[in-house]
């Protein structure tokens, strides 16, 4: 049981491209359909909590799913399984990138990657806004612009900005 929990999350961590949200359907398939560890309703409940808790969504989900299946040791194994592939791969990639930074091919590759990454960041913000229906509401569009302006033009810490906007949400 422990081994198969670890193995399942290890494979999810190793083969999911596209970040935390891309992982969720994969986790659901493994945990609900393939292993029947949780029902679809239980999983949906876990997701709504994972999305409303600080921390990367995938880590939250792994921790919660592991806990539901077999308590503390389950949550530790699921989380460890999820991050271990990243750790091995990224440490290796980091040492390669840092070592060959001045290689002309590497520089060529990154010459093209940089503008693309900028576009992906802007695109991610737009997609998030569309998915959460922020751009259909004038008040929320204004809040977005105010947050953008404060972040861009002042030195206020982003953590402070996020918390202030959260409390604004409670007050109004």
């Amino acid at each position: 049981m422990y081994w198969s929990l670890f193995k399942t999350f290890f494979l999810i961590g190793a083969f999911s491209f596209g970040g935390g949200y891309a992982m969720l359907p994969l986790i659901q398939e493994e945990v609900v359909q393939n292993h029947s560890w949780l029902t679809a309703t239980q999983f949906a409940d876990i997701l709504s909590i994972a999305e409303m808790t600080p921390g990367p969504v995938s880590i939250n989900t792994a921790t919660y799913v592991g806990y539901q299946i077999s308590g503390f040791s389950g949550s530790a194994l699921a989380t460890l399984g999820l991050v271990l592939p990243s750790f091995i791969l990224i440490s290796t990639l980091a040492s390669l990138v840092l070592k060959h930074k001045n290689n002309p091919y590497f520089q060529g590759v990154f010459r093209g990657l940089r503008p693309v990454v900028v576009a992906l960041i802007i695109g991610a913000a737009i997609i998030l806004g569309l998915n959460t229906n922020i751009f259909t509401n004038v008040a929320e569009i204004l809040l977005t612009i105010v947050a953008l302006g404060l972040f861009y033009f002042t030195k206020l810490h982003p953590i402070l900005l996020l918390l202030s906007f959260g409390f604004l949400g409670i007050i109004f």
């Binding site: 999305e51 921390g55 990243s86 093209g112 990657l113 940089r114 693309v116 913000a125 977005t144 861009y152």
Partner: protein, 191 residues
């Protein structure tokens, strides 16, 4: 050579930074970018703005959660393997602890009115901050018409055609290689 004491201090700073990052990431991996940029690029200056973007190119195209990948890369850059472990534990520990506490004590947490309102307020701020990171880094990265063209093309591929980011990154890498190759051969002709 740096002393053991300095090394410990560096790891402590790294750990505290990533505890902060792990605690205040609301939502997905991109939501961490404003905080990680502030902590790692502006505050501690462990990574330059340009290296920050290069790092994101790697951590986005690799499998795994982007937030976790980015933490490991930053840790490695600052203090090799021990740094990577420190940053990883730092970023995972807060959500791990919070979820365990919630799972143990609260079962109807997500129905809480104040929490729902809090997140309703946070969401537009997250969108604004991520846009801010994009514009800030764009200002430093996008200089030539090639950069601009590539960025606009990538945005269209992502938003209009719905292409997977991984594919767009591969396309970016190939066009970068091609561009450098063409530029090199044309400058050789000039000589």
């Amino acid at each position: 050579m740096i002393s053991i004491k300095q090394k410990l201090a560096l790891h402590r700073k790294l750990f505290i930074s990533f505890i902060k990052i792990g605690t205040f990431v609301f939502g997905g991996g991109y939501a961490m970018l404003p905080i990680i940029q502030r902590e790692v690029v502006n505050h501690h200056q462990w990574i330059s703005e340009k290296d920050f973007i290069d790092m994101l190119a790697v951590t986005q195209s690799a499998p795994g959660p982007v937030a976790v990948n980015t933490s490991i890369f930053t840790g490695y850059k600052v203090a090799k393997l021990s740094g990577a472990v420190t940053a990883l534990i730092g970023v995972v520990l807060p959500p791990f602890t919070i979820i365990l506490l919630l799972a143990t004590f609260l079962s109807s947490y997500s129905d809480n009115y104040y929490l729902i309102q809090f997140f309703a307020g946070v969401r537009p701020a997250i969108v604004g901050l991520i846009l801010g990171v994009g514009l800030k880094t764009g200002k430093n990265i996008i200089h030539t018409s090639f950069d601009f063209f590539l960025a606009v093309l990538a945005l269209i591929l992502l938003l209009v055609l719905g292409l997977h980011p991984f594919l767009i990154i591969i396309l970016g890498a190939l066009s970068g290689l091609l561009y450098s190759y063409c530029k090199k051969s044309s400058s050789q002709e000039d000589n």
